[in-house]
Amino acid sequence: MLRLGAGDTFHGEGILAITKGLLQSGVAYVGGYQGAPVSHLLDVMVQGKAYMDELGVHVEACSNEASAAAMLGASIHYPLRGAVTWKSIVGTNVAADALSNLSSPGVTGGVLVVVGEDYGEGASVIQERTHAYALKSSMCLLDPRPELGVMVRMVEEGFRLSETSNMPCLMELRIRTCHVRGSFECKDNIAPAVSTRALMSEPAGFDYMRLAHPPVTFRHEKLKGDERIPAARRYIMEHGLNELMPGGRHADLGIVVQGGLYNALIRSLQQQGLADAFGGTDIPILVLNVTYPLVPEQVADFCLGKRAVLVVEEGQPEYIEQDIATLLRRRDIQTPLHGKDMLPAAGEYGVEVLAGGLGAFAAKYIESSEASSSAKAWLAGNRERREAVARQLETLLPNRPPSFCIGCPERPVFSALKLAQQETGPVHIAADIGCHAFGTFEPFSMGHSILGYGMSLASRAGVAPMMNRRTLSIMGDGGFWHNGLLTGVQSALFNGDDAVLLIFKNGYTSATGTQDIISTPDDEMKERAVDKQQSLVDKNQTIEATLKGLGVQWMRTVTTYDVERMRKTLTEALTSDFNGLKVVIAEGECQLERQRRIKPWIAGLLQRGERVVRVKYGVDEDVCNGDHACIRLSGCPTLTLRDNPDPLKVDPVATVIDGCVGCGLCGENAHAATLCPSFYRAEVVQNPKWHERLLHALRGAMVRVLQPA
């Protein structure tokens, strides 16, 4: 897909189109840190390494967003176009230091930071706006209209805008924009002039102006206002980056909208009878594909002579609206300005929400029509229907948050932790970002705080000294390498803290899409493994070696599926006489990755008629007591309920459905927690060898003699 050239049409997802746009712009280096909704950008580049080498593009999977942002330093001196990507707001927070130091000297080669604006429905992080970073560091902020052609054009323009203004550009893409499926007409990719294939022979000369260091930082600040922002504004105007959609019947009104919200706006105008299916609108719209900096002349011209203007801007505070209000006031333009007075301050602007705000705007400035009353009826109908359904259902429907996958190696650790706390009493648990955060959901409901990726150990530093009992910090290997090693481990060691750290070593940053990290078992290892079903994370000892090197004295590695041992080890860590940092490494490879390896391997064996052993757990329906204690210790999607086949009993029995990967947790829990004896482990031998068949036949005959019906 990335190889398409002029004359080809691209069909696919938004984020992949952006990736193609980077190559069409002659990008020289790409970096970033994975996270929804932009993981795919880096993933396809890493997977397409051969083609990147061909073009001379360097791709780096950075250890965190700070490292990705620092990589952009290459564009300060050199005419290199660089792009990095991460999930915002969290990633931008981590990158903030480098971004400030990049923005101050400014860039020579174009810089584009593609951030996934993880806001609204489907978001997994705190709800804040990336906009604030553009404002404070003077970076351009692109928010393209979610049409693939426009998005790709904004990538290309973004590099030029960055080069013209010396400002780095941010491009914010909302979740649905990243996953929108559409098409655009491709151009040829451009191999960068300076690249991994065409190397620079000499470094740039010394130039103090390129350092983010006083006294030149004072000069940089002046340059931002005096030269860079004006240059950016000129470019935005001259190249028509913002789009003006002329209005029909109500040309004396206006709407200013962030590019990314354009489609939702058009649909809500349609619902109000103010636009047609093709975007033809009664009210003129100024579509801001660049939301910072605004071009004062453009906005002023748009507002001048209008009866009123509505600013459609998602999230809070309303930076754009405030910016427009200031510029109108300074120019003494009296056009009434609306925005957050008619639209909600918080939350995603979906069609229904926007239609509500538009309704208020229209009610004030447009005579009511048949369409506007039908819109009112539609909105009222939605409200009434929600209430009617709630009344009919009587109780709230249970939520269905994401949870550990079937056979996930992390689930057993929470089972063990639940059991360990029955011995030690409840402990304060500092949780973290990653799949293990699903432990905060039912049936475990564990974790007192989440302070950021890799921050758990650091976040207990103030709690632990004040607490009678020990506290526990949970961290994934992703979080450990992202920054937990330094902010947590190093600090705890240096301060001689009495702390317990539980590291989930599953070998990947799994929550973001199982990307490789430094402690991932390497491909050669996977190739060589005779039994592809086994966990291979123990083959990579980078975490253990690092911790030893730092001086960790108390460290235990436990296979996650061994619940009994994990329970004992956790209890020991929480009650041991050793007063320093205690690290428990819970070792078990990400099941998603294992299954990706296992499935084709098993299929191959079966096809060749070779022996395969498949494991599945089950529950004896007549022995199950219907108390579901096993589910409260597991939550595995395949351990579920069905009607009790015993007509005397009323409570549903537990059952293991298809999809069980035979991880063994059910059996481990049955033993560790002394559950009811209804669990069995079945090993199904497919294509057994002849002697195995013979033995089984003899054994079967004897067993049948013993067995009653």
């Binding site: 489907g122 997994s124 649905r176 996953h179 929108v180 499926r181 559409g182 098409s183 649909r267 047609d276 069609v351 539609w378 229907r385 929600r386 009617a388 359904v389 009919q392 259902l393 269905r400 949870s403 029955q422 039912e442 607490m467 009678n468 009992r469 001689g496 089950g618 004896d620 329906e621 007549d622 022995v623 007591n625 219907g626 589910i631 939550g635 999607p637 351990l639 309920l641 069905r642 007509p647 005397l648 549903p652 298809d658 059996g667 049955a670 033993h671 002394t674 009811c676 004896p677 069995y680 482990r681 079945a682 090993e683 199904v684 497919q686 054994r699 067993v703 013993l706 067995q707 009653p708």
Partner: protein, 540 residues
């Protein structure tokens, strides 16, 4: 279909069900058929088994007739302005309807009838499952037209994933202006060979597609499928009622016969004729009490019927002898083979997980000996050790494993002499006495007390907890002097529901206190305690 607005479809699925594939198919199909289309999704971490949605819009006029104009599609579903909702799970369908998505005048709802229970539903000690009928009523009440059938079973039968069935259902509904061939072309991956020549995956998808298509496109096929699924699933159907001995049939009113037959057979199978006679005798006393409270049998002898159920289950209490008997049966080995979907030529090895503790062995010993075993185990725990238990993995497919199961199950005679047997009989009598006394006082009170038999189930700590709760409720509520009988009946009903709500018993204690009774006494539990001393001096 209106020609000036896009056709809109919301797809609800769970992570990993192929919703992404489905939307990709739909967009490709639209392209091949010559229509403008767009899809969006919000996968994120919901990919990890959470609920997620996909959204598709298609413009109903072919691109060729649009004179170069392009429709502007919405990225998110618009509540109350959807043409269709297709969902792979019934509760998720109801959730989206509850979000206001479906408009009764406009929206076609196609939903799987299958339930994939949420963790919150599964983890309840009793039955926490949402009422499927209620969910179905919501679908019916808030849709223009609805098709509800088991897409998941259909996917299983055709050997594919549910997304293929969903695509077939969408095609069969005629929602989009694409011919069936356009769908099939894309499902085939552009491969135009005969179905038997296709790759395994594509062929399975095509079968699933066809099944979904027929289910929605031809309602008769849908009805036939539903009945075939029902017919095939006879394993869960209740067995035909066992014959009730004539003598018992004469002693008890017909309303009780069904339950009595089951209960009597259970107790007989569990121990012996004498024990079954004890069962009938105990139940007769409950019947006497009920006849006194309700001579005409206006309530259909519900107390006796419920007592017949719970008394049988309690008398056939679970112990290692019983478990060994159940696990040693040939029918059980057959059931396991079915459950793990083993083919005839496969070898199945079955390992059973047991972890009998001191209490389980003591149960079979005479009281004196049992006390000494229990005291020894308590002594261990006082020394900070874990309670003694013997974790076992018994291979019931092997000769040694089966022999030990049979040996254990032959110890029925020992059970009767064991200390647990005596203890259970005493507790049963206490409960029955309360039921009888309650019934004679007020029918409703007796009925609620009889239903409390549900609290007794299982093994080990679950069983202990249930007994503890029941005894406490009988002691605190059944004979509560200051409360009138109807108020006590109400209190007992509330406490019973609460006891099944959470395992810690917080809800139960709250319910007890609300009705003026004492909460349960706190049970002593040994914990390993590591107390950090407060800081007294500066760090070295």
């Amino acid at each position: 279909m209106e020609q000036n607005r896009p056709i809109s479809l919301l797809v609800c699925a769970l992570g990993g069900e192929g919703g992404g594939m489905l939307t990709e198919w739909l967009v490709d199909i639209a392209r091949h058929a010559g229509y403008a289309a767009q899809s969006t999704s919000i996968p994120g971490v919901a990919q990890r088994t959470g609920a997620t949605t996909y959204y598709i819009e298609v413009f109903p006029v072919p691109l060729a007739q649009l004179a170069g104009r392009r429709p502007v599609f919405s990225l998110s579903p618009v509540p109350g302005a959807l043409d269709a909702i297709v969902s792979s799970e019934l509760l998720e369908t109801a959730r989206q309807i509850g979000n206001g998505m479906s408009a009764p005048l406009r929206t076609l709802v196609i939903s799987s009838s299958a339930r994939i229970f949420t963790t919150a539903e599964r983890m309840q000690p009793g039955d926490g499952r949402a009422d499927a009928q209620q969910l179905l009523d919501v679908v019916k009440a808030f849709s223009r037209e609805h098709h509800v059938f088991d897409m998941n079973a259909m996917a299983r039968e055709t050997g594919t994933v549910v997304s293929a069935v969903m695509l077939g259902a969408i095609a069969g509904s005629g929602l989009f202006p694409f011919p069936r061939e356009a769908y099939e072309h894309v499902v085939r991956g552009g491969d135009t060979r005969a179905p038997e020549k296709l790759g395994k995956m594509a062929a399975a998808s095509l079968r699933g597609f066809a099944a979904g298509f027929e289910a929605v496109g031809t309602p008769r096929a849908q009805a036939a499928f539903v009945s075939s699924v029902l017919a095939a699933d006879t394993r869960d159907a209740p067995p035909p009622p066992r014959a009730l001995p004539d003598e018992l049939a004469r002693r008890f009113p017909p309303a009780v016969h069904g339950m009595l037959a089951l209960g009597h057979a259970r107790v007989l199978d569990y121990q012996d004729t004498a024990y079954a006679e004890l069962y009938a005798g105990r139940l007769a006393k409950v019947l006497d009490a009920e006849r006194a409270a309700d001579p005409a049998g206006a309530q259909g002898f519900a107390i006796t019927r419920e007592a017949a159920r719970w008394l049988a289950l309690w008398m056939a209490f679970d112990d290692i002898v019983r478990v060994a008997a159940l696990k040693g049966r040939a029918s059980r080995a057959q059931r396991v083979r079915q459950e793990v979907r083993a083919a005839d030529e496969d070898i199945v090895k079955v390992y059973d997980h047991f972890k009998p503790g001191a209490a389980e062995f003591a149960a079979l010993l005479p009281p004196g000996l049992a006390r000494r075993v229990t005291a020894w185990d308590r002594g261990r725990q006082a020394r900070g050790l874990a309670p003694w238990a013997l974790p076992l993995k018994v291979g019931s497919h092997s000769v040694a494993g089966m022999a030990s199961l049979r040996l254990l199950s032959s110890l029925k005679w020992l059970r009767r002499r064991g200390h647990r047997f005596a203890e259970e009989q005493a507790l049963i009598e206490r409960w029955l006495t309360a039921v009888e006394a309650g019934t004679r006082e007020a029918w409703a009170l007796g009925h609620e007390l009889a239903l409390c038999g549900r609290l007794i189930k299982g093994y080990g700590s679950t069983n202990e907890r249930g007994k503890h709760n029941l005894l406490h409720m009988i002691g605190e509520l059944a004979g509560h002097a200051t409360l009138a009988a109807p108020a006590r009946a109400e209190a007992i009903a509330a406490a019973r529901e609460a006891a099944l709500a959470d395992e810690g018993g917080k809800a139960l204690d709250a319910a007890l206190v609300r009705h003026g009774a004492a909460p349960r006494p706190v049970q002593a539990q040994p914990i390993r305690w590591m107390k950090r001393p407060p800081s007294t001096s500066a760090r070295p």
